[in-house]
Amino acid sequence: MNKIDKATALETNAADWQQNYDKMIGQDKVIKNRSGIEVQPLYWPQVDADGSYDEKLGFPGADPMTRGIYPTMHRGRTWSQRQLIGLGRPADFNERIKSILKSGASALSIIPCNSVYRGIDCDEVEPEILGTCGTILNTVEDMDISLKDIPIGELSIGLNDPNPFLMLAQMLIVAENRGIPWTKITGTSNQSDYISHFVANHMFYRLSLPGARRVQMDTITYLAEHVPNWNALSIVGQHMQQAGATPAQAMGLTLSTAIQYAHDCQARGMDPDKFLERFTFFFDISISFFEEVAKFRAGRRIWNNLVTERFGVTNPRAKRFKFHGQTSGLDLTRQQPLNNIARVTAQAMAGILGGLQSMHTDGYDEVLSTPSEDSAKIAISTQNILKHEAHLCDVVDPLGGSYYVESLTDAMEEEILKVIAQIDDQGGMYKAVESGFVQEMIGASALEYQDQIDNGEQIIVGVNAYQEEEDASARPVLKRPPQSHMEAQIERLKEVKAARDPAVLAKGLQDLRNAAQSEDVNVFEAELNAVRAGATQGEIIAVLREELGFGQPLVVA
């Protein structure tokens, strides 16, 4: 292209963007700042003499998506406020989620009790630790109570639902019982990425790697047909970064995981232009502000180019790098805990300016205990303040074009591509985690960062600098579910178990076993039938472990 063509390309692309923007925004509002200056939805260069703007940035919603996946981004629709909530009994969760929805959350998420993550029912757990970190969800009744009065067909739902997707199975049966068609169900299985769990968060690692791979593929296949608006996959970079990966490594490893899953889908004969529409991502947002913004912008661009080059994607919806961000609990300090509100604010800003689609902000007390109700409300208010008072949503990609941010985005892209190349050399992500290659990479980075804090190179206010006498009264008072509640929950499970038809239950579990043994029967469909037959999550996972193998984490010395 000569210079004139490039200039014309800028004009044409800008006009395209404007058209798409107008179509999507509906009634655009005039926004003026306090000085009376009108704020436009997007700013871009006057000229693009060498075509670098077109190649590297482009317009929001168009290749290469660096500036955002939609033409309107947060000016049109702000991110979903998706606060993670999980506590005690299903009824406790239900009460809390209603209050959170009232205070402005626009989507809901459920965290199950750690016993659920481990794949065991509450009657097998020492009661001291039951329900202290999440909600006990063993049966359809538990799920039904958790979602009482919640219009599950009208609200986007996030389930922290590790492979083999039993919370989803329970929720689909609740919907069925309420007469809600599955085609109306929207949301995401947020913790279904078994590779990331295998690498970095063993909490959820319940089946062997090959077993989890089989269940994942069966579930994706089943949902594509029956629950078309559900995102079965959220590919999780958060665990890797929390475990110690640098932001660039976390992004690279996540994209490599996505490549692996895309290959697995292709092996099932699925069409990338279709299945990639349902891929979503989940990232940590650390306090390294510009680095995080650049990480997200680079990740979007790499994904856009990568799915085009490697998978031949032409459908623009399948190129969208949709992601959820969670502010990093690792940056929070026990010392002077109210300072954490400022930390979460900076993290949230990085996520917003990085162009996320939904967000969870941490409670400031997360480093002291399971977050309290008050701190969870402050975390939501933080998002609302950034939106309405700080006006972070008025302009799409407001940092775009900054010399620093663009240079950093390029540099992060380079680092991320190096990681992807390393994983390619290992034969892909599945093999790279099986061998421990990824775990070693992450472990080394974790130690390096900890050294920087220990030797004072990285200052942490109140920890290795600016220390002060502690004011313990600033700490929130801890509330734990009363032991009697947990005992009642265990009793209830026993009653529910006793009230089942043993023949129906046995058939449900046997069919599940047969499905797992056979190559040709869909395991997720069999899980749904087992849930209908009254099987608990612990019973279903026990069968799958026997047939598909129980996962043990790989310990890297």
Binding site: N114, R118, E128, C133, L332, Q552
Partner: protein, 142 residues
């Protein structure tokens, strides 16, 4: 100063209960190993009985329990089990997210020290060294 033995301190670094977040336990294991101690490291989710057996078999001086998600509430049970097996000379330290109220309970149950987020490397290493030396001199002679 406590008598310094020639054999390096033996420390079991582990996690009990339901949670699997192991960044902390891995870092601590590396710190202690770098400081010259013999570290026995396990997967998360150990049962209390298994921890006691391992501590006995490996003849450890110190057990470090990492807890990020309320699993520390099981530590008093571990203390009782150690005493029941005649292993009360073994010192137990806990690191991670432990609320103040719980810390008091753990210390009452016999835990030697609780390390919170932000604890520094030297602080942890020197405490564990000290406890190991104390445990070694308190160990019952066969």
């Amino acid at each position: 100063m406590t008598e310094v033995s020639n054999t390096p301190a033996r420390v079991l670094v582990t996690k009990i209960g339901l949670d699997g977040h192991d960044r902390g336990s891995r870092i601590i294991a590396a710190y202690l190993r770098d400081a010259g101690m013999e570290v026995i490291y396990t997967n998360p989710w150990q049962k209390i009985d298994a921890v006691v057996t391992l501590a006995m078999e490996e003849d450890v001086d110190v057990i470090g329990i990492s807890s990020l998600a309320t699993d520390h509430l099981l530590v008093p049970k571990l203390m009782k089990a150690l005493t029941a097996e005649g292993l009360s000379h073994i010192r137990v330290v806990v690191g991670g997210i432990v609320p103040d109220e719980d810390e008091a309970d753990l210390l009452t149950a016999g835990v030697s020290e609780v390390f919170h987020p932000g604890a520094m490397r030297e602080e942890i290493v020197s405490s564990v060294e000290k406890f190991a030396a104390e445990a070694a001199s308190a160990r019952p002679q066969d």
